[in-house]
Amino acid sequence: MKNNQKKSEKKIGGNAKFLFLVIFIYGMTALFNPALVIEALHGFVMMLEKVIPILAFVFVILMTVNLFLKPAYIGKLLGAESGAKGWAYAVVAGMLISGPPYILFPLMREFKENGARNSLLAVFLYNRNVKIQFIPAMILYFGMKYTVILSIYIILFSLAGGKLTEYFAGPE
């Protein structure tokens, strides 16, 4: 328990250092190009306005997962014993769940800590590309045939990507 806390504190320290480094980069950039920094900060505030409600939603989901989903159940859905069903769940969930990856990573960690396989997490993240709501835009720019073929390849290659990621990163 104490070890975990120490590890977590160390991680927070490392992450804070990275934040200070970025603030330093902003400071240096402001010396040479203040307009760029103002534009970046404006974009950052606008992004925060969008991200904060989503983060609040993720907080609630994470808490619900912590409260109700037992590790054994997550293991059964996305763990080593999940089999072909686990791969299918990862593909479909990746297509259905919206949101930028940085919002989904904490949820992924929760699943991982409860036994989800690396391969299935990679498959889930890859299939975020096949988004029903974005398909009309893709058809508009690239045509129906291209969109259908690309979507099929994304799903197929996501499985290969999952296997390869697991090969290099280990199963859990």
């Binding site: 977590s8 991680k11 927070i12 490392g14 992450n15 804070a16 990275f18 934040l19 480094l21 970025v22 980069i25 902003y26 760029l36 920094v37 534009e39 970046a40 900060l41 974009g43 950052f44 992004m47 925060l48 991200v51 983060l55 907080f59 994470l62 808490m63 912590n66 409260l67 930028p100 990856p101 940085y102 990573f105 904490p106 992924m108 960690r109 929760e110 690396n118 997490l121 990679a122 993240l125 890859y126 590309n129 988004k131 974005f134 835009a137 720019y141 690239f142 045939k145 291209y146 073929i149 690309l150 390849y153 994304i154 290659f157 990507g161 390869l164 990621t165 290099f168 990163a169 280990g170």
Partner: protein
Amino acid sequence: MKKAFLKTVSIFRTVTPILTAILLLINLLHPLLQDYYQKWFTGNYLLDPLIGAVAGSISFGIPITSYIAGGELLQKGVSLLAVTAFIMAWTTVGIVMIPLESSILGKRFALARNLVNFLLALCVAMCTVATLKLLP
């Protein structure tokens, strides 16, 4: 209930500094990158997909932005192969996100996933364009 709440707070405490840093970095780099995509492509059919994948890997944003950028590149004469590699890398590889992903999901996972996805971006692009050529 309290335990679940504290566990969730602990996750957010770890994530918040790096998430803030990444969002700041994204907004600083975005204006610098968006005007230069077209200039990176050479017209070389073999080299351009690789350039597309690299450009996509260091870019970020919702997938629809990559379609718009890709559509513009296509109109400017960049090959469909390069544009597809660009779109795929944009949505599956996130070099700027690697510190965040490493911090949350582990360094090995983040590096392996991004490296594999970079290579797959090229494979998906080649397969898609080859299939399109085969179909009537």
